[in-house]
Subunit: 136 residues, 2 copies
């Protein structure tokens, strides 16, 4: 039950992203100054105003990339949980984690981090068997 709820919250996050729904995005994040975010390629940002401002900038950009979430995997530990997934952004794969906290009945985002894994995609083209080792 907890896992399906957090997977649903994760799906709502990507739906808000895909449709550019700023109001939904603001509701999906915890309303507190401890929230944080690391967008791909950029340093971390902390604080409700800064994090939500970054999402407004992204969602209000008419040229923002298409995004889809694949392979979500939920891990729940009491009132904390996270979903690891693959983001497909304009055909490029990123490894993302969305961290949630259960506040009342809702799983709300407290941290998002998305990391490029483009070399995996490139390697997969060269080697159809895929990478044999995940660390280097």
């Amino acid at each position: 039950m907890s896992k399906s709820a957090i997977i649903a919250a994760n799906a709502a996050f990507y739906a808000a992203f895909a449709t550019g729904d700023v109001a939904a995005m603001e509701r999906l994040w915890a309303d507190e100054d401890g929230i944080s975010c690391i967008h791909p390629g950029w340093p971390g940002i902390i604080g409700r105003a800064t994090v939500m401002g970054s999402w407004r900038d992204i969602l209000e950009n008419p040229n923002r990339p298409q995004i889809a979430c694949a392979e979500p995997h939920a891990i729940v530990e009491g009132d904390s949980g996270r979903v690891l997934c693959i983001e497909i952004v304009d055909g490029t794969a990123l490894a993302a984690t969305n961290h949630f906290r259960r506040i009342g009945n809702a799983w709300l985002l407290v941290h998002h981090q998305s990391s490029p894994i483009a070399q995996i995609v490139e390697q997969a083209h060269d080697d159809p068997t895929g990478p044999s080792r995940r660390i280097h």
Copy 2:
């Protein structure tokens, strides 16, 4: 007090990394199958055996990169906490988050994610005033 304890746990993680201390690294992570990790450039991995195996591979590699942690910033929410920081790996900057859970008296790692932010370093060379916007 909580913040200083989690900052100390974060420092111990980077000390184990820098010195290649596999036994210390194994003690610093929660002993459970819910732990997870996203190393830079790679998809997420989940599970105690898989995550600790990845760290053994990294730490036992005599050619592993030098690493240092800068600008650690702790956020504590009850028994969960995280430290956002900059990793300097062979002169390249990465944005990292280390997620901890308080188990007994110890803050133990449950998730680590490190993301390349090399374009920031490059941009900083071109523009000494630094990037004016952190999102694109």
